[in-house]
Subunit: 382 residues, 4 copies
């Protein structure tokens, strides 16, 4: 049976461009389906760089103008891997052209933009998804299953952190390639949009909507040299962001993100405390899920570390990889996302996070940044 082609047009070629490309190349071997992903075209303004990228990753062609890419008839899916400030314009054009869209997170610069994007893809009825990849780390997906099975009971607490330490040096410049995440014009915000967005997406998925939030942000280094202007400029992003809040289910939220936590490279952790079970996860050891099951007999109750690597249906996605005990890496979460996107196409049941799902995260981001500014409790828009 001939497979149906899914021709990808990739815009951007940075860290995420590479991660997605690897996923497109792996998915057919590890998660075979009726579709065949074809790396049709890669696009970026710099012709030489995008040519080199395309050669290395096997894209058949290149473009230097994303509008051209979107016009091409031989592209089925547009993958948006640009800085955040370009997401909206590209997505609207792609939706208008009837392309499926896979967009990097956060969806937009703010929820106003995000709303427009949701309307566009829904009106155009194009399949769409946002790359909140951590949902598809097997241990995280297993957490979701345990929750759906009702094992946790009433939830009291949800705690999440995303700690990094790479911007402590005050002579690190802001802006431009590789550093656009430090430039508020390109990124929209700092750790809130870059890191907390992941924590929020996972939380909404696992624990439902947030009702109210109260937030503080801090910019430790107030000025940095800007790579694009060559001048020392005011830093507009948040270096650290803490918020507390309440979920609709009555549980308390404690979220924190920073790039000034010396010793933590990318320590995304969450812990959920339910009446009957608690669950914890940690990106630094992403193949493990921690659980405490109150139903265990008293004398042998304790926190259990599950090595989520069994090649059986017990452990999500892992039946398609190796044998028990052999961990997969961070990159696999993207492969799983492509596999699920394709499954969504084939079953007609779109897999999240869709643009609409991602808009909820954007609304929380808006609320926390509003709260940080007003120094008041803020209700999350819905």
């Amino acid at each position: 049976m001939a497979k149906k082609q899914l021709r990808v047009g990739m815009i951007g070629y940075g860290f995420m461009g590479r991660a997605h490309s690897n996923a497109y190349k792996q998915v057919g071997q590890f998660f075979p389906s009726q579709h065949e992903v074809v790396l049709k075209a890669a696009c970026a303004r710099n012709a030489d760089q995008i040519k080199a990228f395309a050669d290395q990753w096997g894209y058949e062609s290149t473009e230097t103008d994303w509008k051209k890419l979107i016009e091409r008839k031989d592209i089925d899916v547009v993958d948006i891997c640009t800085p955040n400030n370009l997401h909206k314009e590209i997505a609207l054009a792609a939706a208008a052209a009837g392309k499926m869209i896979l967009c990097e997170k956060p969806l937009a610069m703010n929820s106003a933009e995000g709303k427009i994007m949701v309307d566009a893809v829904e009106k155009a009825k194009v399949p769409n998804m946002v790359w909140y990849n951590y949902r598809r780390i097997p241990a995280v997906t297993l957490a979701k299953k345990l929750i759906e099975e009702g094992r946790l009971g009433k939830i009291f607490h949800y705690r999440a952190k995303f700690l990094q330490d790479w911007t402590i040096k005050s002579d690190l410049p802001q802006g431009g390639q590789g550093l656009w995440r430090l430039d508020v014009e390109a990124a929209g915000s700092g750790v809130s949009g870059d890191l907390l967005a992941h924590c929020i997406d996972t939380a909404l998925w696992l624990n439902g909507r947030l009702d109210t939030v109260n937030c503080m942000t801090e910019t430790f280094v107030k000025e940095r040299m800007h790579n694009l202007t060559g001048k020392v400029e005011k830093v507009g992003i948040d270096d650290a962001c803490i918020f507390m809040g309440k979920f609709e289910n009555g549980s308390l939220a404690n979220f924190e993100s920073t790039r000034y936590a010396r010793g933590h490279k990318a320590l995304y952790t969450f812990e959920i405390n339910g009446e009957n079970m608690s669950i914890g996860w940690d990106l630094h050891d992403l193949h493990r899920l921690q659980i405490f099951d109150y139903k265990d007999e008293g004398k042998i109750r304790g926190w259990k570390s599950i090595h989520v690597t069994d090649n059986s249906p017990d452990h999500p996605y892992m039946a398609n990889w190796w044998v028990p005990g052999l961990a997969i890496g961070y990159d696999s979460s993207f492969t799983h996302q492509v596999a699920d996107f394709i499954q969504g196409l084939e079953t007609g049941k779109p897999q999240g996070p869709t643009f609409r799902d991602a808009l909820e995260t954007q609304q929380v981001l808006d609320a926390i940044l509003d709260s940080a500014k007003s120094q008041k409790w803020v209700t999350v828009a819905k």
Copy 2:
């Protein structure tokens, strides 16, 4: 050389009464000094129970009226181990009688009470101390040393949590012996005064004063049967408490405490992120200190787990115990506190936390509870 007697009069005989008594009995063997602690009298309203306690622990006599105890000429030190609502009255009387005072934490029901107590002991010039024992876990004391040596550099973050799970059952009653911590009349507050007070004391000691705070509290179980009245009554304490804030040194605070975190028995943890070093500690493995030293060579940088058990001056207090690798328990922190109190007497340099130190913690507690009520940022009184 004959030792000088330090005759203790203990008021209360619960969990803390036992912990302090054990310390009084151990201190002479492990931290010999010019003083000899004598367990002179134990006091509680119930004559039979205090007699049994005194017999078991070797107190020479008993009293059933704490005022009588304070009047006795053969008592040098009054140890206040009663519920919080009695601290003030006893302390004032003891100070008036010229007794040294060791008072359980938190110092008082609120900072107004605490202020009066501080004034009283300072006016009476009696040595005084509050049992914030965690300062004297060797790993925590080592953390203090590393900070004093300036190893951390500029501090960006201070995070502390104290998580328990013992009140999740809604049919647990409130009030009376063993459960007075759930009764707002006796305890003053819930997890804030009971648990967060420890976190705050350690934080002020390690990281300096808090400037501003923003807090939320929650009472998950709204009504419980009251043991003293036999009726179902409204629960007045906070079951969970989260606050964020800013220290005077510019670092951000993220504190949380709850008795609804399934799977955590007494998980007091803190982490400090400095420019050059980060430090973490965890009461569940109290003999270990975690550090990340950015000065380490890049290729071998990582979090280090220090087993703080060397019988050498390197590891505080440990030269007086066993041999490397053999951990001491929770109870030793009290022994260390008595040893240091005596050292304070002998050197004339009082060791903290004094009543005055503990008042600062009380001021933070007032501020967070105010904030929880007003839903606003609150500046900590000084």
Copy 3:
């Protein structure tokens, strides 16, 4: 009700003399019984040193000749804390005098000596016990319970290690106070008798007898200055000892001990792999027991870390200490041993390890040292 006195005569005042004394002083408070332990006399050759020790620990009197101590009518229990080469002579005299005996481990220099000692105490019908204290760490006792309840099923593997690093420096002398463990004349052997003896005692208790063994030993530093002679002398002890073997129940043994494992202070670990459950323990975190329960549901199977600190009958000994989450230290294992010894007296059911139990360990020690010499498999004598 007046308590019955148990008057202790302690011989020796080193590390173990202190650990036992602390236990004698604590037992009445934490494990009250019908007996009252009285620290009657402490004995050592150096009059000044033993006087200082007695003063510090509250012994009523001192002796400088252990024979005198044993003759005293006011001594009920003789506690032997001397170097190993004196155990036999003292024990025989104490038994002949009808004293109860608590003897430090290993029981003897070899099993020939041990056999004589067993015969002596059994003929004299005096209560006797050997200080293999690790049986009474709550986590280890819990392991015993799980095994007795049949939870492990058929046992396949038993692995134990005791790793230290304190003798790596080649200029460390041998012999004399504090270092007699490095002197083969005083100690009988090196790590085998000092460290592996503990591992073997626990193993025989948890897993039954060893059938056959095959061993290698190594002395890394061949000569050391001898503190007693002032000369550089050949080192007679084993610095490292590895043996494999087979238990009577068919499981395989893998044991190792060394004082040359850089980074390990006193890392006594064991792991037992049964058909249905595996169990692991580690002295460096002595309050935790690790278990893997194959009966757990597949998707949430994993290694569980039990914090053995619940003040309930679930966790052995812990109901007598503090509250959940608060760990006790290494020293408590001795307190438990005294409590159990007294319970043995009161119930008429002697608690192990008796001299007879400890003889089995001695027989394994003989067998492994024979094997190391002969380079052959050796059957353990019974």
Copy 4:
């Protein structure tokens, strides 16, 4: 610049066939070189299955007779992923045909076979390598660097284990596809050749040659149904294997492997204790290296957990992957091996383990199995 093709002919399509194929497909993107790997042909007896495999993984053609594959002019590299009993014959033919050879481990059924294979590839002067992939887990490679830099000093101990639990069920059959590792005819041995071989390869690489060994093996389940004959037959493999020994550098070896350690999926661990530094690693958390550096200042000495994920030259191979904190998986070790094989071709400096290196492992395997049979110490052939 046009790349040079490296046309692979793969024999076998099981677990390893998939792991190698993934590596061939990834290497060009993550470790670009002057070579381009081309998946030319896949070969197995079953035409349908190999066709399906080739389609899924993108092999251009298939063969059902490995001799035909080797005859093909368009194949540069033969990859041998068959059961062990076919390695020799195929390797000899491939060498005779002048093909480069990548052979699965262990090299051969025994060292006699291995010797013939080494002679063949060396005579034919064909590049050759054996898939001992764990050398190329970044944390393990970092361990090698630390050793080469002389940081450990004199080595005292080398300990390695490979523990699994998948064959405990006695009704698991032996033999045939997926289970040939349990059939002594196909595998040659049990855990020794399958698992210990990995431990030995790493050890010889990190710590030099083994001199003498003393081994015991055990077959817990004596009979299993054979999938190829349909009859219950005697089990010929070792289920567990423990050996001790001495390395040429004077350090002691303690090695163990089993498939009966309940709770361990693929727990390959090693620890090296040097005078100045100790190092440990664990396949279950493969992205971490544990080190203890005695040169650290006393008060902050401890075991450090290095998260070997920095995209910098500090952490081997990682500069080519993602950003700090994001772990790669087990599969990457194969990608690294292909990258290094190609680098060996391009630089003219062959990267190990070559067939000759792998022969040393085979000689240790022979020695331990001899020792298990003779119950004596055996000197490793050289």
